[in-house]
């Protein structure tokens, strides 16, 4: 894409977890493509820094402090979106957490804490975004950031598996349910991508094992998220886009 192609001009997009890592790269790219961007996240300071960066490069963005797992926060995010930009066209449900614990030592509290954000939070996002997109009746695009762990196993991450496997299937069910309204729903499955979250993995040891020889960059995911949300992805729904440098085909 060239800097001048404003393929999301006139569109408004919510990007959850939009202040850091992949979310921040997606928000920045969407803004460059002409979208009004609503970034959400739990940390006010990081959020406003990300918003300021977008504004400095000529984009339009707001930041709303919100927890993806909270229904009340979602109502507020949608309200702020409509107040600032008057409509919603795109949701990228990107916020998520991950931390390893062997299954037999994992507390139900840890399991639920992660799934409230990663699984229930995506359900709530789908529900509220679909309702909001429905208001103008022109259709829209929803991109759910899952993981390769929604498709293959990862020892010590059973809670994360549950959340990402759940998201993977929600995208398909939602694609079928919302297709008639021209709301497309797809999932992206990143492998190792260099973010705060991936700092727990030893890149030196793992990167050579990735067929493409490196960890992904947040921009690799952002490019896919733009493709799926743009007109270029107009016939794609219920699809899984795996972006892992070839990790899962080995």
């Amino acid at each position: 894409m060239t800097e001048t192609s404003k393929e999301l001009a006139g569109k408004t997009a919510i990007v959850t977890g939009g202040a850091r890592g992949m979310g921040r790269a997606i928000a920045a790219l969407y803004a460059r493509a002409g979208a009004n961007v609503v970034m959400t996240g739990r940390t006010r300071e990081t959020g406003h820094a990300a918003r300021a960066a977008i504004e400095e490069s000529g984009g339009k963005a707001i930041f709303v402090t919100a927890d993806q797992g909270s229904n009340a926060d979602w109502l507020r995010v949608i309200e702020e979106t409509h107040r600032a930009f008057g409509r919603l066209d795109i949701l990228v449900a990107n916020a998520g957490q991950s931390f390893p614990v062997p299954t037999k030592d994992m507390s139900l509290e840890d399991f639920r804490r992660l799934n409230t954000v990663n699984l229930k939070g995506v359900f709530l996002g789908l529900k509220h975004a679909a309702e909001s997109i429905r208001r103008h009746g022109e259709g829209g695009a929803i991109v759910l950031i899952a993981s390769i762990v929604g498709k293959i196993g990862a020892p010590g991450f059973i809670h994360y598996s549950a959340s990402k496997g759940g998201v993977r299937l929600m995208a398909k069910a939602a694609a079928l349910e919302l297709g008639a309204e021209k709301i497309r729903v797809n999932s992206i499955h990143p492998g190792f991508v260099r973010t705060d979250l991936s700092a727990m993995f030893d890149e030196k040891t793992l990167a050579p094992l990735v067929p493409l020889g490196r960890f992904g960059e947040p921009e690799d995911i952002a490019n896919a998220a733009l493709f799926l949300a743009s007109k270029r992805g107009q016939f794609i729904t219920g699809s899984e886009l795996v972006i892992d440098g070839g990790w899962t085909v080995q």
Binding site: T103, L119, K120, K127, G153, L169, A174, L178, G238
Partner: protein
């Protein structure tokens, strides 16, 4: 009594009706000592009669899979009454169909707690039990065709079954590293004529015919077919099978 599962103790959740009940009977027929668990005592008694009718051995324990303390009780009681368990069938689950717009946060929480947390707790406590008893083991998680493909008006259910499909894979990798090794697989039933389905759609025989007509094999799915698949996955016939998805749906998923 001889059989593929002679001398092995196996816990089956939701064994008060439908797939769980048929599975308890089929496991007992293969010689397993079965611990049938569930919330419905009457259904549990019916399961015990079914097991007795094939000359098998079983007990029923009241069990709400959402509560960790009840899982601890089930495993402790199993060891006391029989022996350290060899297998667990995570079968209990809920189902509903509802458009996304009408699905409330509470609807989601309820189905998530039973289907996802209940299954997680089962895997966790089975792993603990296998590790402490030194008993090799096998777990079968009952997912769904809807844990592999989408279905409209079933976003919440698909979320929970997709979660079970993926949890199975991580659990399989962890189980493979345990000593002795533990196998973990998922079963994916299509439309099976059980109370779970009839409670949602009604029990008009015409509906069963319609489901059959809509299935490539032109058969209505019966709980017994699922029981056969579960017995296979639990038994040594599947000793090289772990982290796998066994779809038993009359061909619907391929259609």
């Amino acid at each position: 009594m001889s059989g593929k599962l002679h001398g092995r103790t196996i816990i089956v959740t939701g064994a008060t009706k439908g797939i769980g009940q048929a599975t308890a009977v089929a496991l007992a027929r293969e010689g397993a000592a079965v611990v049938a668990t569930g919330r419905d005592e009457k259904g549990g008694e019916e399961t015990l009669r079914g097991v007795a009718a094939v000359g098998g051995e079983a007990i029923f324990l009241r069990h709400d899979i959402r509560h960790e303390a009840e899982w601890e009780h089930v495993f402790a009681e199993t060891e006391k009454r029989f022996a350290a368990p060899y297998g667990l069938v995570n079968n209990a689950g809920n189902f509903f169909v509802k458009p996304l717009a009408e699905t409330t946060e509470t609807n989601f929480d309820n189905i998530y707690e039973i289907n996802v947390e209940g299954t997680f707790l089962g895997i966790k406590h089975a792993f603990r039990s296998f590790a402490s008893s030194g008993q090799a083991g096998a777990i079968v998680n009952v997912s769904s065709l809807m844990g592999q493909v989408g279905f409209p008006d079933a976003i919440a259910y698909c979320a929970t079954k997709g979660a079970i499909t993926a949890m199975t894979k991580s659990a399989a990798l962890e189980g493979a590293k345990m000593n002795p090794r533990v196998r973990v697989n998922s079963l994916h039933p299509g439309v099976i004529w059980t109370p779970m389905i009839t409670a949602q759609f009604g029990d008009d025989p015409a509906l069963a015919d319609a489901f059959a007509a809509d299935t490539p094999l032109k058969m209505i799915g019966l709980p017994e077919y699922m029981a056969d698949a579960i017995v296979y996955l639990i038994s040594d016939d599947a000793s090289y099978v772990t982290g796998a998805e066994l779809t038993a749906d009359g061909g619907r998923g391929a259609d």
